[in-house]
Assembly symmetry: D2
């Protein structure tokens, strides 16, 4: 249950299909969980790029057929966004689309650049103006200034100047480009549909449009698709890839396959490992829906303690919620979750969630479970303590807001008023995904370990983290 | 998975609270699953009734604080609606509020009257005009024409002329009335909050506002609340109550307590009974989310076959969904559900759902499961075959559209292309809720048995069922 | 310049045209000046009435082609409304459409009934319920309760029970009825277009759709149009007609012909008479646009003093206008009007307006003219002092708000700070429209004389005039 | 009557007022006639620029008080726009606001640059990217690349690279800059209000907020306002100013004073000159409202033929207008104008309009006047034939669409079916504004004479004029 450390972005691209924009819309629909704040599509008819983007969810922003008439063409890219950086100005909606001396280009970006500020300063000094506060605009400017002759070389020339996380799709009048940064922080998948090439952050987007999942775009790989077909490049210095393990823990959809595994299975195995590490005598295992479900099922399976639906989620929760003005009560998680009393009354309850950020939500959940009659409440978290902010595209709060950065397990247990609290260990987490339990991890788990695969220009103090 | 036989209505009322309208809004929020098409609130400040109602979900219709300023007063009623009868004209949004010779009155109704047409004809002949096509307006007219001196007597006088299902809340300038028809088809619950009296279709509405659940309004009971307190009446001829068993199977929220039981538990027991009745060798039990979850967990528990999340629901599905124009594919259930491949690949899969209406959705689900790699697909339904339409407030299609009305199990199995199909038997269902397995049932299970507790004026042919 | 005593309603009807709803929309467009608050259309396809109505102007309420697809049929009626009675609840938008024992009926009403409250009480006592606060709903109820066999007889039976001003169009599945009250307070015109019959409040609606103006519906006349043609009835007791002279002075469009004369010409003649009655040495005549223009042109012509555009109107004034929060200035008329300085600087200026209601607007105008450099400001009003409220459909304020009800000319002159003030005399006004200058007037000029052609049940005190 | 050659832009700026944004809103309100398509405001609180802009009219785009809370600060600029260049993408709404290496800047532009394409190409080659299709963005880029130390020098450095028409307001965190191009094509006025400095396209904006009109910004002048006061610069090479005479003829509001004269008076004198040049025996002079009114009054005064309101304008005409689908009739000007029959029936009518563009509207007007009964229709145009497109900011069609570019007076008379047609001569027009009747004109009258004060890089063929 992870509300502030919520979402980031999802990208989609398609080349060579008569209904490119409409399929992009469907792809974004499936990727909506990666960003609910704004979305957009840019389509190309071979000569002109046309855009439609706005604040709102996919189904609201694209609610008229007529929009798709305006997005003619056989190639398109799309974006859903939560806003890891940049404010809420409408200009920040992606894909960003601009004109430059070689024509038009649109770009959709998932991830976060660590040297965006530095490069932006350099670009501004050289005369660039910035219309958005998104770090993505830096890439657009670098592209416009690149001297190379071919589009692929220019993309490389531009990206060699930035560092950080980027899973990108770019669209020109006649080409679609997909690139994943050398570390491969964020997922990016390649598929095909009726002869068209399809790119998406997660495979669940392919499932909806019935595209075939071919493989993932590799860390450091760039693919360029045009009317003559697809070409793959590996233009960057090779580094050890470090895909984001948090995609497995919380962010990706459980029915997606990323980084070589189906998310549901990984998540369930985390629950099984958690059960081995933090066994406790109890009567029932419940999950915090929806993200805690697979781990809870794994925990129950491993422990032999029955799994029950102890918490029901209200799926009609919208953006607006008007609390009684004079109320002394505080709503919040209550508006989303309600306990099933008979499941918990008089029982020793194990509550499985994916992570604890500030601790305030867990504290409310423990109270709800206890109010529903639970005799004991044992909190089990299917990841290690989140003690470090993410600089690569997950919207975590600053370090000092992360309860695990300044409190030990005992203190957190007390704060959330649980009878016991068990986090999956870093070793257990790594082992579950078949990694060495010490030393270098083939995933980025910096949010748990503080070991950041890419340094940022100057180490920022917490007070500067407003950007994230 | 029950999309056409979907929703009906939910009602809420509160008397004696300074933030009556805002708490009604919260109550409707919790009852949103009972009707997503339109909603409304009428509040009384002791002198005037004021209304706000519109098409849309609660969070959309009530999205500005200012609306609540216009809904001043210490008492209010609210309604969410799917439309069991009446078209989509904005005048049909409830609560209905009118002026008559004794002042103003507003009414919110859950259920369906079986003699609405007959009474409407009589009223029209006597000079009444109808502004809506809702059967509820009949009650308003009867109330306006009632001769009795007291409000409570007038309500009784009016209701004695109608037959069918009604869980009602009525609001006048100074009183709140809650009534449940003698059969008690639909639930209606009584609670209190800080000295205020609260009424709601389901207890989940009390949970959200932290009201205390006192008891259900009994079948045939009417309670009248005014500044002097609450009075209970039992003005109707006593009949054997027949609450709707379908509320347990599908309609109510699993975290609600209605008809004396928590819905989750009943639903899970249906799954257990189903496992006993229709055992099959298999590797995994999956549910069609969200309504099939409790029964699937019960089935898994009873059978010892592991429960897994095999289907992931996209919770961002909105009203609008624009399919590719030239697509030969048919979306539909795909936009809502996506299989988790690893759960099913190479497995013998038991799929638990709550009901089958037309069979088309089940057919698509079986195909999805098989496409995900399942070796065998065994469909298990946690209710008996739905073979008869409901006339008391559930939005079923006409008889001939119900696949079970004209096809036997074998034929349905073939149609949905499952390897096997098992429905919970009527006896098993009754037994699960501690009823005699033959003869009179203390629930209305007419949709399964055709035994309608209340006859309708003239037996309608299917072609006349457009009303439903 | 007459902002509070502003608008009332306009009606339109058409029978026998394949694009009935669309032509009704165009007719309402031309009648928009008669009511900008809400509007609506009800169309009949011979079997069903379908409605679309809402708050807003015609161009905003009917902004999609698709609305007209929903309003199929060869007959339709429409309404624009300012709200002479009834609040702003959406239920009050007209046409009112209901079902009763003989089918469906819709009604659009221009005018005000003086005994609506009394009849409403009687109807409520007989069991009727009221969904709106409009007096028009009284007519609908009377119609529903009428015993006569034919529609025309029922309309007469209903209307014989009400008194006041009504120019009505009614639509049933198969008939269109147009009726004007015996006094003929409000205009109602009859035209034809390609074999279709057309009804409209003013002829300017015919001009737009290129319908031919046949004649006015006479006071006390009812015409019934069905597939067999048009029949005219004169079912009411004959009284001396008293059409509203204020339609000439301010309300109707100058390009319309009503009560036998083109409004522009009458208005200009008022200005000529005014010039004869209140001559003054001056350099320039200016008008308060737009309603004061014809009279100012007439004044200039008669006096020989040149007419100039001294005030420019901002035609983009919308409903919302946000004044600076901390401003000590008061906007108001300034947002609508701005003086042309060179026209007035150093000049003796005659300002012609159609009426003075509260005096506050005139006061601001005099100040604006003087600030623009005028040496003298002579206010000339092309109607007599408005000293009495209207009970027949013009939205005047209560008597005590009308400055002329409690102040003499000298006092008003002083209040508005003009150098002189001249009103057209009652005699002059009557003479201009060829009426006897004393005794009974063939127009209703009650707002000037207090001689009300129809008495109201009980004389209401000013404090009860909220209705108006 | 000039619908296609309609509007362009209006700008407003204020420095040093606690309600800067709100006063900008009021200023834009008064300038709405200069552009109804989109509008925007950027405000500075001394540290940050904040923007609100959108498609729509001022009253619609700024309809909530809360918008002004978001636009905090003591300085602001605003823009209304019709779109002389640039499409309808939301990114094209002005003011444009961007970040560059020295901070943030916003710019609002009235006019058109003739070398925008060339400079844009150069900038793009140097690496600039363009987010809009507006020529204004060129200026922003030049500003960002300017090397000078002070803001004023940088503005000059940037503007020395562009040619054409620009009346600009620029806002930085701490400064407001207003510049008018050396030719002074478009008006730009300077005022003060309570110690604040105010800039506006026309003085009518000052009138509304009760600011004092000080003087016009001179052609080639730049004023920079900061907390220390206002400084004036004349940084450009001096050329002979050529303000746009078409502002007098059609575009500016008649109550504004620009180029040293009140527009109403100039326009009226055009009418008087026209009467002298093209006298004709007639009974009545009418105007095409609203722009033809002053000239018609002048014509009537000079000729002694009475002026009447012969055409009534429907002021409720909105953006959308849905014509009957099957109609053989063509609406168009009918929806805006309706004749007053009695004014014209049997009369010889002089119709005064400000210009003829394509001729189609005039043709419809002549037909309307004749259909209203006129015996003769004499068209009089208060400007010379519009035969050449404008490249400096007025939205004229391409040359070949201008009827006067390819037809002589006789042919146009025949096309519009008038009995006679008279245009004001170029000499008469110049004389009226006290200019030499031959040779160099102190106004730009290129649309009449083809003498363009500023050459454009390459003479564009008509087919390239899509930009305009």
């Amino acid at each position: 249950m992870f509300d502030k450390l919520n979402d980031e972005c999802g990208v989609f691209g398609i080349f060579g299909h008569p209904e490119a924009a409409n399929l992009t819309y469907l792809g974004l629909y499936a990727l909506q969980h990666r960003g609910q704040e704004s979305c957009g599509i840019v389509a190309s008819d071979g000569k002109l790029l046309r855009a439609h983007k706005s604040y709102g969810k996919v189904a609201d922003v694209f609610k008229n057929d007529s929009i798709f008439n305006d997005l003619a063409g056989r190639s398109a890219i799309g974006h859903v966004r939560y806003s890891t950086s940049g404010g809420t100005d409408v200009r920040n909606c992606q894909p960003i689309n601009v004109d430059y001396h070689r024509g038009s280009i649109a770009i959709a970006h998932n991830g976060n650049l660590v040297n965006a500020d530095v490069v932006r300063n350099q670009l501004e000094l050289a005369g660039s103006i910035f219309s958005t506060s998104a770090d993505t605009e830096v890439i657009v400017h670098l592209l416009a200034r690149a001297k190379s002759e071919s589009l692929s070389d220019r993309v490389v020339e531009a990206l060699q100047q930035v560092r950080g996380a980027y899973s990108l799709v770019l669209l020109t009048e006649t080409r679609l480009v997909a690139v994943r940064d050398p570390n491969g922080f964020r997922p990016l998948c390649l598929g095909k549909l009726d002869g068209a090439v399809v790119i998406a952050s997660e495979t669940c987007a392919f499932d909806l449009i019935e595209a075939e999942f071919i493989r993932e775009i590799e860390p450091g790989e760039m693919v360029v698709i045009d009317k003559d077909g697809m070409t793959s490049y590996h233009p960057f210095d090779v580094v050890k890839p470090t895909p984001c393990i948090f995609e497995y823990i919380y962010f990706a959809r459980p029915d997606s396959t990323i980084f070589g595994h189906e998310v549901y299975n990984v998540r369930k195995k985390f629950g099984q490992s958690l059960a081995r590490e933090h066994a406790v005598d109890a009567d029932v295992v419940i999950a915090i829906p929806d993200s805690g479900m697979p781990a809870a099922i794994g925990y129950a399976e491993e422990s032999g303690i029955p799994f029950q639906l102890g918490m029901i989620r209200n799926h009609y929760v919208g953006r607006t919620f008007i609390e009684p003005a004079q109320s002394i009560r505080h709503f919040g998680v209550k508006i989303k979750l309600n306990p099933v009393r008979e499941v918990m009354a008089g029982k020793r309850v194990i509550v499985v969630d994916d992570s604890i950020v500030r601790g305030t939500t867990s504290r409310k959940i423990v109270k709800m479970v206890r109010d529903a009659g639970a005799k004991e409440v044992h909190m089990r978290i299917s990841s290690p303590p989140t003690a470090f902010p993410c600089y690569y595209g997950i919207d975590t709060p600053t370090r000092k807001e992360l309860i695990a950065s300044s409190h030990n397990i005992e203190e957190i247990t007390k704060y959330i008023t649980a009878d016991s609290l068990g986090y999956l260990s870093v070793e257990g987490m790594r082992e579950t995904v078949s990694c060495p339990t010490t030393g270098d991890c083939p995933y980025c788990d910096a949010c748990f370990t503080g070991t950041y695969p890419i340094r940022f220009p100057k180490m920022k103090s917490d007070s500067q983290l407003g950007l994230f």
